[in-house]
Symmetry: C2
DNA sequence: GTAAAAACAAACCAATCAGTCTGTTTTATA
DNA sequence: TATAAAACAGACTGATTGGTTTGTTTTTAC
């Protein structure tokens, strides 16, 4: 009889991995079924975790959801801070700005990440506790975009708009476009519209 | 004993009014509690309608929700078509465009209407049947904005961007801003940012 | 090695979910 | 005015919800 060596793990290891699995499964359930469909049973199935084990690590579903949402948004804030400087090709304005837009689009406003962002924002709307925890992170995201994307950019001499403001407007536009794709499906026009936006920005920004 | 004269109503009247009440209550519940919290019981409480009466008029909650969402969006499409021409003050560009933006903002992207728009869009994401019914209306909205807002506007001679595209970008920007307010609360910067965008538009558009 | 604590499993619970069933009231038809 | 049909009310149903309870396995501390 072969005895499979039960991988012995310390309790901190166990605890951390279990909580990580549960939080990940919460986001998976949110992405797959939306806030309304992400029941505890669905989440636990995805995590492969029993109800009893779950209860040992979290008091309520709301607490677990809040933790998952906070993690998602904090990562987005951190990611926003590292977006622009590295990827901007030097020289020609519209193309470089276009590349920045495409990076932001792909990172935040397509696919699963976009879906989660919207699900979490909407969930917070009607849940005071969740809203209180998430609202400041949403604000941080905009602040991060405004402050850090401008690092590799310079306003053109005669430009009437501050760099930070232009970057915030850009993010808002991408978000609205993302919502359109979420609701109506992807549109072939959108890549062209992003390039058009980059061109308008280039009149204000040099890089 | 006073006999209150029971207001006699025809069956078509009854039917129509009951369905109208139920659809209105569905939107109220959606606005107040979100998709996840808008249970049939909540909706029926708001409507003041019994379960039996409801069942006589709708087969499923999903069907009623779809009808409510369709109505909401079709009204928005119609409203988008009548937005610009009447309200634009003639003459000076940035101010007129600013007024257009503020109109659009107030009509679509503030308060209850904004909340419902987002709730409905997100609900459709994970509900294939609902998505199939709503997606074309979301597309119609963008088409309507692109086509009709340009009626009172003219591109400036040297402008590189089509009017319709600029209007669509504008709506996307407003939407993204709306989502920020939904998630993080209203921001005093946003009115300024809208005016800033109106100024940038004025470089491309004369009116 | 042994006792305590942490981790885990699964049966269980009251409340609520969407939807149905049965019977009553109101309107329409003849 | 009698009969049928539509409108309505409220009790009821099985499934599912978030959460609890009881008992077992694994890790830790002595």
């Amino acid at each position: 009889m072969v005895e499979v060596a039960a991988t012995r793990r310390s309790q901190p290891e166990r605890r951390e991995e279990m909580r990580r699995r549960l939080v990940a499964a919460t986001l998976d359930a949110l992405a797959d079924h939306g806030h309304a469909g992400a029941s505890l049973s669905v989440i636990l199935d995805k995590a492969g975790v029993s109800r009893g084990a779950w209860a040992h690590h979290f008091d309520t579903k709301a607490e677990m959801l809040a933790l998952a949402a906070e993690g998602l948004l904090r990562e987005a804030v951190a990611s926003a801070g590292t977006l622009s400087p590295a990827i901007l090709p030097p020289g020609d304005g519209p193309a470089a700005l276009g590349a920045l837009l495409e990076q932001a689009w792909a990172r935040f406003y397509e696919g699963r990440h976009r879906d989660l962002l919207f699900e979490v924002a909407l969930a917070a709307r009607t849940d005071a506790e969740l809203k209180q925890r998430l609202a400041p992170i949403f604000s941080d995201f905009i602040t991060a975009v405004g402050q850090s994307w401008g690092l590799a950019l310079r306003p053109r001499p005669g430009a009437g708009a501050a760099l930070a403001d232009l970057m915030v407007l850009t993010v808002y536009m991408l978000r609205g476009m993302a919502m359109q794709e979420l609701a109506a499906g992807p549109s072939p026009d959108h890549a062209r519209l992003r390039a058009l936006w980059a061109g308008l920005l280039a009149a204000q920004i040099s890089c």
